[in-house]
């Protein structure tokens, strides 16, 4: 079956951080910003809206958020209106769904938006929400949330491959440094040296505060169109060339090896196969650094370095500008914060802005043609990958 090509033609990210704003206000804010950022977009053209939102029921006491978001953004979708929920990958799921809708001919112009409000007066309530991502009645009562799980991943990687706290800090230093050149990042104005990172308090040993992404409020939105419409918006779109996804397990008993992420290797193979490129053809990647150890394992699973060598790859600056490929030039989840539903959309916005050479020099990838976006969700049990090519480049 032949499918239409789909282009990402515009996008915008709100300020990420601890925002004095409700879920709906964030949706309004990103809607207003989207129409300013894409002046050629007319609301009545947007036939479909996909809303990435992980836990509005918990964090904002609100269900049925797709029509709520449409109303906040001033949209009246006529073809498809739906929410996509895949925990930390909810935003990328919105984009993948929009892609599928346009490629199949069900939609011509779609908006994918991600919104998450996570900072509550009670940290315990927010942690309770995060705990529901796991197999709640089985893993939840023990106190399973993301930090202790990824701490065990780090412990095993350190044991099996000799990865060090210093190598993990190198990931965090790089991503925070990029975030210092991204005004939308939660930690835009905060400096983190490796030395400082190594002395931050332990959250879940061996992970320290600087190894963990934050609870963040924020929103991001992108416009996707069928190939015939791309030029109406921009000469430099980001074409979606490949995508893949793999769901491996859910209950923590089935995680298997904590350091060999089988699901990521499957999702990557699928995405690279569809795009017709390999891991070494990429110029940059936005990967899911919910924790420093995640990015280290992702280097390995994507094939940018041999298994077990991710720590060395980080310490050698191979994921930095001037290295093998630039990883997380946006600032990553570590530097930008991680508003669950918004993260995947914000990563796509970064891809477009890098392609259009609209980012500050300190985090600009030189002449990029191919980019990859990756999200894991939950306990790295699901992996979602998209591959983009710069329009007019190939």
């Amino acid at each position: 079956m032949s499918v239409r090509s789909v282009a990402l033609v515009g996008g915008v990210t709100t300020k990420f951080g601890v925002r004095p704003a409700t879920w709906s206000e964030l949706a309004q804010e990103v809607g207003a910003a989207l129409f300013r950022a894409v002046p050629d977009l007319r609301a009545e053209e947007v036939d479909s809206l996909f809303v990435g939102a992980a836990e509005p029921e918990r964090f904002a006491f609100q269900s049925h958020v797709a029509p709520l978001a449409a109303e906040q953004m001033g949209l009246r979708p006529t073809h498809i209106i739906q929410r996509t929920e895949l925990a930390c990958a909810s935003g990328q799921s919105a984009i993948r769904s929009a892609y599928a809708a346009i490629a199949s001919g069900l939609s011509e112009v779609a908006v994918a938006v991600g919104v998450e409000k996570m900072n509550l007066p009670s940290m315990a309530e927010a942690s309770t929400a995060m705990g529901c991502v796991m197999d709640r009645p089985w893993d939840g009562p023990h106190g399973a949330t993301a930090p202790p799980f990824f701490a065990m991943v780090a412990q095993r990687h350190q044991l099996e491959h000799g990865t060090t706290d210093e190598q993990m800090a190198a990931v965090s230093e790089k991503n925070h440094r990029f975030a210092n050149a991204n005004p939308t990042a939660q930690f835009y104005e905060k400096k983190f040296s490796r030395e400082k990172l190594l002395h931050l308090p332990l959250v879940a040993p061996p992970l320290r505060l600087g190894d963990c992404s934050s609870m963040t409020d924020g929103a991001a939105a992108v416009v996707l169109v069928a190939e015939e419409r791309a030029r109406q918006f921009t000469d430099t779109p980001a074409w979606i060339r490949g995508t893949g996804q793999y769901s491996n397990f859910h209950n923590l008993a089935h995680a298997g090896s904590l350091t060999d992420w089988v699901g990521l290797r499957h999702a990557a193979r699928e995405a690279f196969g569809r795009a017709g490129i390999g891991p070494n053809d990429l110029d940059f990647a936005e990967v899911h650094d919910c924790f420093t150890i995640s990015e280290i394992i992702e280097y390995e699973m994507f094939g940018w370095c041999p298994p077990g060598q991710g720590g060395r790859f980080a310490a050698d600056g191979q994921g930095d500008i001037g290295g093998k490929l630039v990883v997380n030039p946006r600032g990553g989840l570590l530097g930008c914060g991680h508003p669950l539903g918004a993260t995947g959309v914000a990563q796509a916005v970064e891809v477009l802005q890098q392609f259009q050479a609209r980012v500050p020099p300190a985090r600009a990838v030189p002449d990029p043609e191919w980019a990859l976006v990756h999200n894991l969700s939950g306990s790295a049990n699901v992996h979602s990958v998209m591959i983009y090519q710069r329009g007019g480049a190939g």
Partner: protein
């Protein structure tokens, strides 16, 4: 591991299937049981365990007698975790209950030093880990008691224990062996 009775659905509502006697039954954790406020279900991680809410109430009944159990498929012999009402491989809904080994070894561990969910704030710091059960192909996640987190090590021997969570419901956890 002992095979227990077979039921059409793994959820007998009254007496739980008899388990084999154990030489060293899992100790009740009376000293650590605290009276517990009844929490609204949507703010409580612990499951509703009664037969009007779950087809796996037998699992919780067996916890009350000190036994951690699960289901096993009589056709393909696959051992499930968590216990199930349908086999994920052959999809039969007629499953056996079996008791799990009560000893195991730590595969990985960490600790929650802050940011604990509701109801667990007063337990911080607490250790959690993945435990390989001795003689069963299962690696279970759970709380690890009995030593501070920084005295745990990979490979350390632990024992399964069941405990009253403080409102009449039971759950399971691991305790470092002396």
């Amino acid at each position: 591991m002992s095979s227990a009775s077979r039921s059409r659905r793994p959820a007998p509502t009254t007496a739980p299937p008899a388990a084999e006697p154990r030489s060293s039954p899992a100790p009740a954790a009376a000293p650590e049981t605290r009276p517990r406020e009844k929490r609204p279900f949507l703010l409580d991680f612990f499951p509703l365990d009664t037969p009007d809410q779950t087809r796996l109430s037998a699992f919780y009944d067996r916890l009350r007698t000190g036994h951690l159990s699960t289901t096993r498929c009589p056709k393909d012999r696959s051992l499930h975790w968590p216990p199930r009402t349908a086999c994920p491989d052959c999809h039969t809904e007629e499953l056996d209950w079996v008791d799990l080994p009560e000893l195991g070894k730590i595969y990985a561990f960490s600790a929650v030093l802050g940011g604990a969910p509701l109801g667990m704030e007063s337990e911080v710091p607490f250790a959690v880990g993945l435990v390989d059960l001795d003689g069963a192909p299962l690696r279970l996640f759970g709380r690890i008691e009995g030593r501070p987190w920084n005295e745990l090590r990979i490979g350390q021997a632990v024992r399964v224990e069941t405990y009253d969570i403080g409102d009449g419901r039971y759950f399971y956890r691991f305790r470092v062996r002396d």
